[in-house]
Symmetry: C2
């Protein structure tokens, strides 16, 4: 049970947060084009676990990233990028599969990504990964690494070890059938894993894909019933609804200017994590998460040059409780 006024207690660990999951290339068309006629593409560093890892470092806490890339030029590029951002890449594995890639043709309608998954789902549970986990206060994952075998087994092992060692488990249930392994309905699997999760942050769309259409309040209840201890359901420009099953809180967005929504969810997670690690209450960490997200929304790109958490707190006029 997480009371909203509580500060989370962590054991003294060398690392603050370990993010586990996809590290990949985003190959994005230069022009808007609904029919893949555009021939020019730019490659970008991609993958939410690393984005969170880089964000929280800027906000002032420590991070480790566990991902798998290929033994190829694109994998080496991704590792170099992380190192340049000051991230320890000791848990980034290089495996004998092509570095995963997502190709996107920018669209005025709905951009439809094409997924090329290779190395990312071959992340193994190694002694190095276990060591990183045991030395971390928080472990974070999303639907990517549970969507395919064998990395799903790695996550299951991570969840078992996290539970035994009282490591906070946070899950982004960004379910989408397109990333799921063929022949399996991912919805049931995603639901089954929620009992092992402390904090979950679904969007409205995530909830609808998992449970069908329903009111916000009912959707939040469903996540709680499946065993999540704290549900943060984001509602886009309408902010978020948060519940631990006893207390329910409605939060407004702090965004004033929306230039690019890419990475806004990861920015929220990042601010929230930095805040709980720095000893803020859950209630205040939620506000700080929204402040970081609002800051990110003003700039283009999945990862922007965030100031420290304290500077953002001041910018958004957030008070001590």
């Amino acid at each position: 049970m997480f009371k909203l006024s509580d500060k989370l207690e962590f054991h003294n660990k060398r690392n603050d947060i370990l993010t586990v999951g996809e590290l990949l290339i985003d190959m994005i068309s230069d022009d808007y084009d609904d029919h893949f006629e555009c021939n020019s593409y730019k490659k970008f560093f991609g993958g939410s676990p690393s984005n969170i890892g880089m964000n929280v470092k800027r906000l002032g806490i420590n991070s480790l990233v566990a991902s798998a890339v290929g033994e190829d030029g694109l994998g080496t590029f991704l590792i170099g990028y992380l190192r340049n951002a000051g991230i320890n890449t000791g848990c980034v594995q290089q495996v004998d599969y092509s570095t995963s890639m997502v190709v996107v043709s920018k669209s005025q309608l709905t951009p439809v990504p094409i997924f090329y998954r290779g190395a990312d789902y071959h992340l193994a549970y190694t002694s190095k990964l276990e060591e990183a986990l045991l030395n971390s206060k928080i472990v974070h994952f999303s639907c990517w690494p549970i969507s395919m075998e064998p990395v799903r087994q790695t996550i299951e092992k991570v969840l078992d070890v996290a539970a035994e060692n009282k490591i906070l488990v946070c899950f982004d249930p960004n379910y989408h059938p397109m990333i799921w392994q063929k022949g399996e309905d991912g919805v049931e699997y995603v639901k089954s894993i929620i009992s092992k999760v402390d904090i979950i942050k679904p969007s409205e769309d995530d909830a609808e894909r998992l449970f069908g259409k329903d009111t916000y309040e009912n959707q939040v209840q469903k996540f709680l019933q499946l065993g999540a201890k704290l549900v943060i359901m984001t509602l886009g420009k309408d902010g978020a609804i948060v519940s631990n099953g006893i207390e329910t809180l409605k939060l407004d967005t702090l965004a004033t200017e929306v230039v690019d929504t890419t990475g806004a969810g990861d920015a929220f997670w990042s601010g929230f994590y930095a805040a709980v690690v720095k000893g803020y209450s859950i209630r205040q960490a939620l506000s700080l998460g929204f402040a970081v997200s609002a800051y990110k929304l003003k700039y283009t790109g999945a990862v922007v040059n965030l100031p420290t958490l304290e500077v953002i707190k001041e910018m958004y006029g957030l008070k001590e409780e």
Copy 2:
């Protein structure tokens, strides 16, 4: 046994050549860069079966292409490209896997491609494919579609039906371990399939990857011993050595100007096919193959705007026998 002075006899068929295999996107960096630091890429239409299909059409014979692409924007782009080139795409299947892609960082050293295989190896043996095969004089394939299951089964079925129906079987043994399915040594499989092949066109490198280093003459003998009826071993700027086991012929290249070697092998095949279909002898078809290849070498791109076979024959001063 193919005597070099023979003209090949074909049954009267609606189609001349059916090429079976990969259809894919080549994603190539704009700049030369040995470390995948370049962020700008261009996408290109790719896949040797289609390149041969488009070439032979320009040279003046008919072609069909059997390939599989994804049910995605890139697959639709590839099909549209073929249609624009006047190719019948009735045998191009759209399957529930991402359109295959090869990412290449142009290099001053050795460019190392990264393979993203999806749809291409899911080409199924369908009644439509069988109909195309039965209505064709020649069927052509390379190592791509035998390198992975399930498309390998499609090729095996194609080879059985071709044998039963006396369709000429031609094979490009462009073996490379990088495209092969994991855990299998492709060399033995490639060798095993040669007994089902009429005409094979290895390069020196292909031969070395299959048999190790040896003299040209010995390499040619090995292909013959494995059951190929005619071996055309290309030697780059040194032309080619051709043998049916009784007669051996050394051919010089006709290239005078080399601007881009991409697609030169496919151009050779294309000229050779157009010539045998048009009733030239094997010996003359070999020269016409080299003439088309020499023409292609003067221009940039895998597929260039070839004139008809007759025009090329005149350009290169090839005489009637």
